[in-house]
């Protein structure tokens, strides 16, 4: 038994000191290494290559997605509730955007077939902001006629058959066939004299048609002396602003031709880009910032 002495710093052997020093250096290298690696995640952000079409209500303005990056907890609950599986999570090549939800419109656009913006409701952090009430309130992007030369309508052509070929996996809600379940695009035959698929399938335009019908019914009920239900009286976001329409223009040779024109009410959901039956790159695309250089 030694005397209860005050704790002294133990004198370390030379070996011990050397191994301590090595451990310290190793630790410093580890810290620097891991931190540097985590900082490389900023490269895609700085380069701007990680900007993509985001789900409705994403906290961002134009090209600045910083708030969206910071508020998203990368859990994918928005992915899980989407009835058409439009939302995907970004991979590590997006750097600090890893796990962030995005939409590849050409592959599967958001067609609002959930009606209630379920991804927004599912978001636990408000990264998809709850300020939205209706699909028409969002502005995910803005459609733009990218390749007018390949647009069938511009060429004066119609379209017959399935829009994206028999192997296409995408889904869309065809309201007149099934109100509640989105159906494969590959199972839906079109036959139109002048191609207007982008206008025809636009969720906002479909909503406007529904609003008009509803209004008509209401008028009928009124004239028959019946009271409409409260919900019908107030409607919801009825009718939204027009998003896209077919316009007649004169081409260079003085011939009349039809062309889809994107209007103010476009929310950038990407359905037009998705449904465009042109093989390869679509004639109409959705930009994530508002640029319209044609139409």
């Amino acid at each position: 038994m030694t005397e209860p002495t005050k704790k002294k710093k133990p004198i370390l052997s030379k070996n011990r000191r050397q191994s301590n020093r090595r451990e310290f250096i190793r630790s410093a290298v580890l810290t620097a290494g891991v931190v540097t690696l985590s900082l490389t995640g900023f490269i895609p952000v700085v380069q701007g290559t990680s900007s993509r079409l985001r789900p409705p209500g994403a906290l961002k303005n134009l090209l600045d997605e910083q708030k969206f990056y910071s508020s998203c907890i990368k859990c994918g609950q928005c992915v899980q509730v989407c009835p058409v599986n439009a939302i995907k999570l970004a991979d590590l090549d997006e750097g600090v955007g890893v796990g962030l939800p995005y939409i590849d419109a050409r592959e599967q656009a958001c067609d609002f077939s959930c009606d209630g913006l379920q991804c927004v409701l599912a978001c636990p952090t408000g990264s998809l902001t709850h300020d939205l009430d209706y699909p028409a309130d969002t502005r995910m992007g803005f459609a733009r006629m990218d390749k007018p030369k390949s647009c069938l309508a511009v060429q004066g052509k119609g379209f017959k058959g399935v829009a994206r070929g028999p192997d296409y996996k995408g889904l869309l809600r065809y309201d007149e066939i099934d109100r509640w379940n989105p159906l494969p695009v590959a199972e839906h035959d079109y036959d139109v004299e002048i191609c207007d698929l982008c206008v025809r399938q636009c969720p906002i335009e479909i909503r406007i048609t529904q609003c008009v019908e509803k209004e008509k019914k209401r008028e009928e009920a009124k004239s028959a002396g019946k009271l409409a239900r409260v919900a019908e009286q107030h409607g919801n976001e009825c009718p939204p602003k027009h998003a896209i329409e077919m316009q007649v223009i004169q081409d260079r040779n003085g011939l009349m031709t039809m062309v889809p024109a994107v209007l103010d009410g476009c929310v950038g959901c990407g359905v037009c880009e998705m449904i465009c039956p042109v093989e390869g790159d679509p004639a109409i695309v959705v930009d994530i910032d508002k640029i319209t250089d044609w139409g």
């Binding site: 900082l39 995640g41 994918g76």
Partner: protein
């Protein structure tokens, strides 16, 4: 109170405190003295041998099943739309209730600089859950990376045992440094930088939403742990572990140590992920006869399994009074 102070001190990387002789109670000193020459090495060897026949891996088995089940539940909830456990490890809804990983929520709030109500609800739920279940219990019972790391750890230990490679250690304070760095990075840059490299989040999302390039990073980490440093991520980097270790300081679920039964042969320290918490099993290093293992312990139960003399056990503090 001592438990909380000692726990926090070890969580942030200090060495376990050594009791001086006069701090130890007489009874403990008697135990230490009495054992000298009492049990020969052969006796301990036979005790270990006996123990191996009857026991083993009870807790490890339960734990692995739990990790697999929880992660499977995430996957099943999504794939078959049963809505039991939606989301991923970072944030989820369990039958509709918000759950949010404490560290992920902290990172989001630091970066976003808003207190999000749903996250407050989610973190409170999760905080209470892990408070009752032991804090770092998350690590060893739920975290998918832990399971993979355990398997590569076996390879690492085997390689070191065969003297094919040499294991390297880092200073345990490195983890605290990382904790501060990642918190500052989130706060200053406004991006959740840690999420980018967190193997827990990456793996959880890969399991649920399908694999991606990000798994390469997880692979690199596992290779590093196999060939360079045992359990390096969990021991020296991961801030999730630190967060839950802090929660664990006030948790009633702990591993307890009884010096009377202990023969100090050190099997527990060899298998432990965070062996500094078991320094109290070294002869002469305990403060008292009965002690709780500090909160950096992941409650994995491997030491409970391996101890041949029943010196380490799980306990839920205060529960014995009710029963």
């Amino acid at each position: 109170m001592n438990y909380i102070i000692e726990s926090l001190s070890q969580v942030f990387g200090n060495k376990p405190s050594r009791p001086s002789k006069d701090e130890q109670p007489e009874a403990l000193k008697a135990i230490y003295k009495g054992k000298v020459g009492n049990l020969s090495k052969a006796d301990i060897e036979s005790a270990r041998h006996e123990h191996r026949k009857t026991c083993c891996n009870k807790w490890t088995r339960r734990r692995w099943i739990t990790i697999i089940l929880v992660n499977f539940l995430f996957l099943v909830s999504y794939k078959f739309d049963v809505q039991l456990l939606e989301g991923a490890m970072t944030a989820s809804r369990f039958v509709g209730f918000h759950f949010a990983d404490l560290n992920s929520a902290l990172q989001v709030m630091l970066a976003y600089k808003h207190v999000v109500l749903n996250l407050v609800i989610g973190t409170t739920t999760v905080f209470i859950m892990w408070l009752l279940l032991g804090g770092r219990t998350f690590c060893s019972w739920v975290c998918p990376y832990h399971l993979l790391a355990e398997w590569t750890e076996m390879i690492h230990v085997w390689l070191v045992g065969k003297k094919i490679i040499k294991g390297h250690t880092f200073h345990r304070k490195t983890r605290s440094v990382f904790y501060v760095i990642f918190a500052l990075l989130a706060l200053l840059s406004g991006y959740t930088v840690f999420e980018t490299i967190s193997p827990t989040g990456i793996l959880s999302r890969a399991i649920i939403y399908g694999p991606g390039v990000a798994l390469i990073w997880v692979g690199i980490l596992l290779l590093f742990e196999t060939f360079v440093s045992r359990r390096a991520w969990c021991r020296y980097v991961c801030p999730i572990g630190v967060t839950y270790a802090v929660v664990g300081t006030i948790s009633p679920l702990r591993v307890t140590y009884n010096a009377e039964n202990c023969h100090h042969e050190g099997d527990c320290r060899k298998i432990c992920e965070v062996p500094h918490v078991l320094d109290l099993t070294i002869r002469g290093r305990a403060h008292d006869i009965n002690l709780d293992v500090v909160s950096d312990c992941t409650r994995c139960g491997m030491c409970v399994d391996v101890c041949p003399t029943d010196s380490l056990n799980f306990k839920f503090k205060g529960l014995d009074k009710f029963l």
